[in-house]
Symmetry: C2
Subunit: 200 residues, 2 copies
Amino acid sequence: MASFAGPEIERLIGLLAKLPGMGPRSARRAALALLKRREQLLEPLAASLRETADKVRACSRCGAPDTRDPCAICADPARDGSLLCVVEEAGALWAMERAGGFRGRYHVLGGLLSALDGVGPEALRVGELVERAAAPEVSEVILALPATVDGQTTAHYLADRLAGAQVTISSLARGVPVGGELDWLDDGTIVQALRARRPA
Amino acid sequence: MASFAGPEIERLIGLLAKLPGMGPRSARRAALALLKRREQLLEPLAASLRETADKVRACSRCGAPDTRDPCAICADPARDGSLLCVVEEAGALWAMERAGGFRGRYHVLGGLLSALDGVGPEALRVGELVERAAAPEVSEVILALPATVDGQTTAHYLADRLAGAQVTISSLARGVPVGGELDWLDDGTIVQALRARRPA
């Protein structure tokens, strides 16, 4: 990109373009919006990013990003310490919390095993998980990993690694999503939903 | 949105969601990417926004955002001071510069007249334009405004206001865009391209 907008604005556009869902064009639009809404958007976002960079760290127990360590969920005595829910990333943790209904604690892996991307167990928080699962209060580890090849490979690997711990290992049910039309579902989901059919 | 991710991250997500092209879901993804790529993305973007907020100001002559005042284009002696190109926003200026071929100077209006949104001439840099157009070196004002109702209303209004100045007033040609298929063009463009037809 040419530098007619000055190196500072070009740098800002280049960084905004790296955000997921953004490209060079939308990054320019975002930079313009920031420059136009200086008090309402540019200043608050600059301050918020500074604060996030300075204060938010991965919880040393579960790996979720928080300003406190242990994080709010790990520190909450009302949470059920016998249930440990393993998620890929904090985004999945947030989705579970939005959905509600889970009152246990989490373990954020920080990614998935991937032969293609060269991600091995040592790059993930697997050792920490095995250690936490060995604690006497933990009775069940729920593998809430994506229903993708990497997600399922990771789930199998974790089930193996946790075989020695005195815990039940479970994973999220597969089936027709709420509001799901059979017409629009992939065959794999239909087959799995049929296999796991329940009395009505 | 619930506050399980902590107030700092929720604030960041809320601000990211205000960027054009972003919604609550993509803002969460962006926040996660920032937290995951702390050194490559979060720190540089925080610093870049801080720098932009501190250093970038509207050029006191043309209104374009720059760290210098007058801006790089206004200060460039190689630019043709007899041509003044009026644009809505800095984004249009950047587009003109990317396209190349224009060696004059710019005037950034800061918006368009809009009866619906209650934007009158006093909200735009119209007085400054009239003043600049009255300078003896200016011989032509090119109205490079969008081909929308508000854009054309603004162009008509500016042509009226500039009637007293000793300048030629022009606007960008209408016609078939490069690579444009007639099939996909709207009727208005085809009619205007036909009226403005040129010897082949």
